[in-house]
């Protein structure tokens, strides 16, 4: 196995991109990544595209070929593969690209993520997203993702005394981070009061506890570590790529207050990287709902189980805190184009480790982690990246 490096990143603006199509978005992100790496299309040997539900969102399947075609890479007949693992599609596309390079199969690979969600109405979008749950045992009987995560939040509050204010602080912090990220869908700062007073979605989760519907795309260029300096002076190295699965249904899990796949993927990642949680300087975690971030920072090992809410309210996960989490604004404020999120997380960490994160820069960041969840935790993908 070879070591792998990221030598180029690109990410579109996230938001309701009415004027841009599915194709426009991945072309834009891909070109940005190629330009950043100084790579020409002719050098690209393989593409991996994370996408959850183009079939429902834009009525287009077979997007592997579409991406290769509209990216102008068809003259080389470059292999192009769509990767799907619900909201972890992006993270898994990154992992697929890394494995392709690490295994010596390819040298220059693009891993991308794309979702165009606003071409359909809210009802259809909700139904598309519900496909990440168990259709027969969850979605078909009325469970939605806000509903499922609300049950996790309720259980977490019951078991550990997590408070409404602690949940709200996740959104407050992430909006504050998003306000410093030019790509973020929401750049407004919010308060604990505004979260608590926002419309109820699924008790105890309110509107501002939930990540939005978003259009966006992101891409990274991967090469063997030994060739990284050919492309950039600031390569970022992949120290670990891990993936873990769990039951697709929430009700079949061991616990409602932990995502075991997160704990397993993290444990494997730290072991592979020969690092500890204390070594991580900055992390992008999967905050599809505020409770998800609290569970993530516990399951990843940054805080004791049950202590995530209090740690957040204390400011330990803010920029300047013990472990800055979701400096991009996270899914909550930066936006959550489901298939693109896992790649965007990597783009954010690469920029942090390069020292290019502007106002949201974590000083001296050398080691970063990404954590991407599919559904309620049926798939988890973790990456550890270093300078």
């Amino acid at each position: 196995m070879r070591d792998v490096a990221i030598v180029g990143v690109g990410c579109t603006k996230f938001g309701e991109m009415w004027q841009k199509s599915f194709r426009d978005l991945f072309i834009e992100a891909g070109l940005m990544a190629l330009e950043d790496a100084g790579v020409s299309g002719a050098q690209v040997e393989a593409l991996y595209g994370g996408n959850m539900s183009s079939g429902i969102f834009v009525e287009q399947e077979h997007v592997g070929a579409l991406i290769a075609d509209y990216s102008g890479l068809i003259s080389n007949h470059v292999p192009s593969t769509r990767v799907e693992a619900a909201c972890a599609s992006g993270g898994l596309a990154l992992r697929s690209g890394i494995i392709a390079v690490a295994s010596d199969y390819h040298d220059v690979v693009i891993s991308a993520g794309i979702e165009k969600m606003t071409d359909v109405g809210a009802e259809k979008a909700m139904d598309a997203l519900a496909a990440a749950a168990d259709r027969e045992w969850e979605a078909a009987v009325g469970a939605t993702f806000p509903g499922l995560y609300a049950m996790m939040a309720r259980a977490h509050m019951h078991e550990f005394g997590t408070t409404r204010e602690q949940l709200a602080q996740v959104a407050v912090k992430n909006h504050n981070n998003g306000s410093m990220n030019p790509r973020a869908q929401f750049r407004n700062r919010i308060t604990i009061e505004s979260v608590i007073n926002s419309p109820l979605v699924a008790d105890p989760l309110r509107l501002f506890d939930c990540s939005p519907i978003t259009d966006g795309a992101a891409a990274v260029v991967l090469v063997p570590a030994e060739r990284a300096r050919e492309f950039t002076d600031t390569p970022i190295y992949v120290k670990a790529t891990t993936q873990a699965s769990d039951t697709i249904s929430l009700h079949d899990r061991r616990s409602l207050t932990s995502i075991d796949a997160t704990a397993v993927a993290a444990e494997r990642a730290f072991k592979t990287a020969r690092l500890e949680t204390a070594d991580i300087d900055v992390a992008e975690v999967h905050d599809c709902f505020t409770i998800a971030e609290i569970m993530a920072i516990e399951d990843l090992g940054f805080f004791e189980k049950g202590a995530g809410g209090a740690a957040t309210l204390e400011g330990l996960t803010a920029i300047g805190g013990k472990i800055p989490v979701n400096t991009s604004g996270g899914l909550k404020a930066c936006g959550h184009p489901v298939g693109a999120t896992g790649i965007k997380q990597a783009v954010e960490i690469v920029e942090q480790l390069r020292g290019e994160a502007g106002k949201r820069q974590v000083e001296g960041a050398e080691v970063g982690l990404t954590h991407n969840v599919g559904g309620t935790g049926g798939t988890v993908v973790v990456h550890i990246l270093t300078r």
Partner: protein, 346 residues
């Protein structure tokens, strides 16, 4: 000889339903709705009122203001997205009611909320070409909003009739400009009871794009600036959108206030900007200049510049003013509202 509006008339049904009452039924927070939409209540037609009857009321009110009779009218165009018949014109019903038949051009228009202003442009062309002496353009709607849809808070009823001619002009039409694209923001297919819409897509790529582009183009075309006008009226689907475009374009609160009727009327669709304009004409003085931009989903905007003439005093006060029509309403609860809107009886 200048061409312009020679008279105008408005009709608003007397019934209203408050935001609080609709929010009570659906479990929404009324303060959030009022803050978000800046609408407090909306008009509701009586059970026996439809677009044809309210268009007739507005047409009669317009004639009442002037010395014109139905026989003077050479064309009637009724713009609406709630014509009572899919096949069979509303315009002929209005024409018979005001005795404008049979030497008459007539048709129904549909362009979402801007069909009424499109009818004004058509009359302007016919009068300018000397095909007719007077043309009547009507915007009228008893608009539909599905139960529990966000539209239900604003979809209102109202009608406005404008006669365009060369004689006895009360407000000269200095210029007009339209901006049109094919944009799928709001629609209702044949046979469907309620319209569908693209949520927030109706905002930026719909309303704001077309209203701002149309207004800017007419300002540019006429070398005008916002401060050249005494009043400005925009299509008002809610209280927020017209205020936003006014401030984006550089118009002041003082310029928009008189023509902003949505808070107590709701969105009267094809009549929305035309009732706003009528509210301005109710108080306008000779020499005042008025800037108007309507918007219709689908999508397009019609912009106009009017200059009020010395004749304005001759029509003011001869028929109910918009402020009078909005005063003294009868409030309905949701059950009566559902009956009035044929949601529980057919």
């Amino acid at each position: 000889m200048s061409i312009g509006i020679t008279t105008y008339g408005v009709y608003v049904p007397r019934y209203r339903i408050r935001v609080e009452e609709i929010a009570r039924v659906w479990g929404d927070d009324p303060n959030n709705i009022k803050k978000g939409l800046r609408v407090f209540e909306k008009s509701v037609p009586d059970r026996d009122e439809d677009t044809a009857t309210i268009a007739v009321e507005a047409a009669r009110s317009a004639l009442k203001r002037s010395d014109l009779t139905g026989a003077d009218i050479g064309a009637i165009y009724v713009g609406s997205e709630s014509h009572p018949y899919a096949v069979k014109p509303t315009a002929t019903i209005v024409a018979e009611a005001i005795r404008a038949t049979p030497e008459l051009m007539a048709a129904d228009f549909e362009f979402a909320c801007k069909a009424g202003t499109a009818a004004i442009q058509t009359c302007l062309g016919l009068v300018a070409a000397d095909y007719i002496k007077y043309g009547m353009a009507i915007g009228a709607d008893t608009s539909q909003g599905a139960p529990a849809d966000a539209l239900e808070y604003t979809a209102a009823a109202g009608a406005a009739a404008y006669v365009v001619g060369k004689n006895r002009v009360i407000a000269e039409i200095e210029d007009t400009y339209s901006f049109t694209t094919d944009t799928f923001d709001f629609w209702r297919r044949e046979g469907q009871q309620y319209p569908k819409h693209g949520g927030r897509f109706t905002g930026e790529p719909g309303y704001f794009k077309h209203v701002l582009a149309g207004a800017r183009a007419l300002l540019h075309k006429t070398h005008s600036k916002p401060e050249d006008f005494d009043f400005v009226v925009f299509h008002q689907p809610n209280g927020k959108f017209p205020r936003n475009v006014a401030s984006t374009l550089g118009f002041s609160q003082r310029q928009i206030e008189q023509g902003l009727v949505v808070e107590k009327l709701g969105n009267a669709y094809s009549a929305s900007s035309l009732i706003g304009l009528a509210s301005v004409l109710d108080v306008a003085e000779p020499g005042n200049r008025i800037f108007v931009t309507s918007f219709g989903s689908g999508a397009g905007s019609d912009s106009f510049i009017f200059q009020v003439t010395e004749q304005i005093g001759k029509v003011q006060g001869r028929a109910p003013a918009v402020a009078e029509l909005l005063a003294d309403p009868v409030y309905l609860d949701y059950a009566l509202y559902a009956k009035h809107k044929n949601k529980i009886v057919f």
